[in-house]
């Protein structure tokens, strides 16, 4: 029986619109896009131009500084548009998909028969490498480093997140192959974190030579950073690689079928979705056909990802590289008359100064209102309630704000990523942009020290 670790700090934000466990089908999206914005702290160079034909698995762009890291097209078709923003920064590379997807063949093979270098080369060439991210810095892993361990969180505790057991069902073999491939990449162990509140799927617990740990508690128990911290915290100089469990399945597929098939099970959820359900959708898919299935006719905020860390997209936006969830909530933004005095039963709060403590189990219909204005740090101790690390969050943020590299290092920045601070940002009375600040800090460290 795997060890059970209790995560005490944190909070589950209960939202309306969790996805029913049925796969619905939708018309195939016509376009797909890769968004460089999904990859922090990276400089990219295009390897295609508008009008080029690509197959699924052909490089679209690559990392300028580590040119063996390729980002490949999830579908076959024509590169129709490169959307650029300020200073010609690439925002999206759009690909018009063929009716029948042609996959580039990378050859099927058993990971256990391959050497570490072969596994690595195959993942790099096919575009699976960007799924592997490293701590410190939460960036795409440096393939030339050997990680101490590899961590995969096999459940997602974020609001309305897809159910891991439901998703993995039918893909057990691919998941196992993916884990076996990862085992080739490290001298350490592959750690799997599973949900401790119920009996997790055999798919996660039944793989040889892995360390399975059960985590019990509120979000962020499912965050891989929390799991690393609870088992073997990252010290200065160490590197740990992390992956989403759905991406492990995609890697497994690469070894099983020899193709880059980046299809995921994703949940369309949130209070503004008429029928929240699961869909099988390929990474980078245009969301229009999906969203046309039915949203409430309000001013909506469409989020690729969950409400804590996802990115804001529009009705014709694309599914993010790492996302397996699309959440739709009302945009909100109506000024509230004496809003600081009214009971505000419809809002979420960890403070009892609002009155929703009277109904702790009610699923809420939250909108994207900031509910206040940015202020200096005043209230203390509130981040600590939702931050299950032996790290002082406010002090770390302050050290980032004053750009004190040494203090950041001392206070434990190597262990954390933006997502670990998402709840701090939610509960902040002073509405401080915490995740953005943490990213700035990580980028500063990265520039100073390199990966």
């Amino acid at each position: 029986m795997p060890e059970v670790i209790k995560i005490k700090k944190g909070v589950d934000i209960k939202l309306q619109g969790s996805a029913e466990k049925i796969y619905a089908s939708t018309a195939a999206p016509s376009t797909y896009a890769l968004k460089p914005g999904d990859f922090p702290a990276i400089r990219l160079k295009l390897s295609v131009k508008e009008g080029d034909e690509v197959q699924a698995g052909d490089a679209v762009f690559f990392d300028k500084d580590r040119s063996d890291i390729l980002f490949t097209s999830p579908v076959s078709g024509e590169v129709v548009e490169v959307v650029r923003g300020e200073k010609r920064k690439i925002l999206e590379v759009r690909i018009l998909a063929d009716q029948d997807i042609k996959y580039r063949d990378f050859g099927s093979s058993k990971p256990s028969d391959l050497s570490r270098e072969d596994v690595k080369a195959k993942m790099l060439k096919s575009g699976c490498w960007p799924f592997v991210r490293q701590r410190p810095y939460n960036i795409i892993a440096n393939p030339n480093r050997a990680p101490r361990d590899i961590y995969v969180s096999c459940f997602d505790s974020a609001p309305l997140a897809p159910d891991a057991d439901f998703v993995v069902h039918g893909q057990e073999a691919e998941f196992k192959l993916g884990i076996q491939a990862l085992q080739q990449l490290t001298d350490g162990k592959v750690h799997l974190g599973v949900d401790g509140s119920n009996n997790p799927s055999e798919a996660f617990t039944g793989i040889d030579d892995t360390v399975v740990t059960r985590y019990k508690g509120p979000h962020p128990a499912g965050n891989v950073g929390v799991q690393i911290h609870a088992t073997a915290p990252i010290n200065k100089g160490e590197t740990v690689w992390t992956l989403n469990f759905q991406d492990v399945i995609i890697i497994g597929r690469l070894f099983k079928e020899g193709k880059f098939d980046a299809q995921r099970s994703m949940a369309l959820c949130g209070s503004q979705v008429l029928k929240p359900r699961y869909y099988k959708l390929t990474m980078g898919a245009n969301l229009k056909t999906l969203l046309e299935e039915g949203l409430k006719p309000t001013d909506n905020r469409i989020i690729s990802g969950n409400v804590l860390t996802g990115s804001h997209v529009n009705f014709e936006g694309y599914l993010g590289f790492y996302d397996s969830q699309v959440t739709v909530i009302p945009e909100g933004g109506d000024p509230r008359f004496f809003g600081w005095l009214t009971p505000n039963l419809d809002q979420f709060s960890i403070s009892r100064a609002l009155f929703n403590w009277t109904m702790p189990n009610k699923a809420l219909k939250l909108d994207a209102s900031l509910n206040g204005e940015e202020r200096a740090f005043v209230v203390t101790g509130e981040y600590d309630k939702v931050f299950p690390f032996d790290i002082y969050p406010v002090q770390l943020i302050k050290s980032i704000m004053v750009k004190d590299i040494e203090a950041m290092e001392n206070l434990g920045i190597y262990e954390v990523a933006e997502e670990d601070f998402a709840l701090c940002e939610v509960v902040c009375t002073s509405k401080i942009p915490v995740q953005e600040t943490v990213r700035e800090g990580l980028n500063m460290m990265l520039n100073e020290l390199g990966d």
């Binding site: 909100g332 000024p335 509910n371 200096a376 209230v379 203390t380």
Partner: protein
């Protein structure tokens, strides 16, 4: 509601860039956001946010102060008419007190917010809510007979030197309300000490102060005579002279319940402060026989639990020591900070009869020490992290 919205929209251009009063935009913004929580939506980071904001936090503290305020109004009248030997109706006492105290509140808010507005206009900052609580605390910790101009001077000193020079709300080292109290105490010592200011004894024609009347507070009595005329029950309920809001432990406890239940006041600070005060009280009880003077001996012999209900200890611990900006910010630091506040409050009160109350100086002293406490708490965390690395390497 619509009306307010229209008015705000109507006058907005005057305050915006290019308008006649563009310099006063922070003042406009302050009023507009007071009436309406602005409809901003998130544009970076998490898409949903907690419903709480700083205004809500501050208002909750003010609500927690209301019992102490109302009791203070009644008690001021009660003490006044007692001194004159007259017995009057409940409402008359209350109204008499209100007539004295409401002007103090008006002066405190008027002057304090005025100074804040000026600074915001100069620095082009948004108006932050910090003064909402300070503005209510300041009248409550002043004696009833303080002239309004002294209140005004103290407020100006507190806001300018106590807060704005450090950068405004959230940046100050000392609790602004206590800064005001300390200013009044040290700037007008002949007025603020002694036993004249705690009970108003102004007489109209035909009224006389009763024979043998003493306006001294419990602590004043104890420091000079070693005894007091007031019973423990009087102290607990608040029928004693003292600063306006501090007398009734019951009213303060109601406020404490609000702060603790909402989680806005730190229970760690309150509990450890209580433990600190009890510790010091018990030590004094134990060593009382060795005191140097008979007055001090009887003061030290006051049962430790009585120390908790006299003077400003309860008020200070509940409402001022828990100020998150000037207190310790780490959990472990809060335990140390609170404990020492309690300890020093009782120590100063008993050992130094020149000060009528120790809690003010104890909190201000610990405000200064709080960053140091936090520093060592965080250093310990850093050392732990470095040790982990060393263990790994070794």
């Amino acid at each position: 509601m619509k009306l307010f919205k229209n008015i705000l929209e109507g006058i907005k251009p005057t305050f915006e860039k290019g308008g006649k009063l563009e310099k006063l935009y922070p003042v406009y913004d302050g009023f507009a956001t007071f009436l309406f929580v602005p409809g901003h939506t998130t544009h970076t980071g998490a898409h949903v946010r907690d419903g709480i904001d700083l205004k809500r936090t501050m208002v909750t503290v003010i609500l927690a102060l209301v019992p102490a305020l109302l009791f203070g109004m009644w008690n001021a009248g009660h003490m006044h008419y007692n001194a004159l030997g007259e017995s009057v109706e409940f409402m008359d006492k209350f109204l008499w007190g209100a007539m004295k105290i409401v002007p103090m509140i008006v002066v405190s808010y008027g002057v304090g917010l005025g100074v804040e507005f000026i600074f915001c206009v100069i620095k082009k900052h948004q108006i932050q809510e910090g003064y909402l609580v300070s503005g209510m605390l300041i009248p409550l910790i002043m004696p009833i007979d303080i002239p309004l101009w002294m209140v005004a001077m103290s407020v100006i000193f507190a806001v300018v030197i106590g807060k704005e020079v450090f950068g405004g709300t959230g940046m100050n080292i000392l609790n602004p309300a206590l800064t005001a109290r300390a200013f009044a105490f040290f700037a007008y010592p002949s007025y603020m000490s002694g036993d004249k200011v705690w009970i108003n004894t102004s007489t109209a024609e035909g009224q006389f102060v009763v024979d043998g009347f003493s306006g001294a507070t419990v602590l004043g009595d104890l420091a000079t005579n070693g005894t007091t005329q007031y019973s423990s029950m009087d102290m607990f309920l608040g029928f004693i002279p003292g600063s306006i809001g501090e007398t009734s432990t019951v009213a303060i406890l109601i406020g404490a319940v609000v702060l603790l239940f909402t989680g806005i006041g730190s229970w760690k600070i309150m509990l450890s402060g209580l433990i600190g005060a009890i510790t010091m009280g018990l030590i004094f009880n134990a060593v009382a026989p060795y005191a140097i003077s008979p007055e001090q001996q009887s003061f030290m012999a006051v049962p430790y639990w009585q120390q908790l209900i006299m003077g400003g200890f309860a008020f200070g611990l509940v409402f001022m020591a828990t100020d998150p900006v000037s207190a310790s910010q780490t959990d472990r630091g809060k335990w140390i900070y609170g404990f020492l506040v309690g300890l020093f409050a009782i120590m100063i009160r008993v050992f130094n009869p020149a000060y009528p109350e120790g809690i003010m100086l104890a909190i201000l002293f610990m405000n200064v020490m709080a960053p140091l406490i936090d520093h060592y708490v965080i250093e310990a965390n850093i050392t732990k992290r470095k040790k982990r690395l060393k263990a790994k390497v070794a």
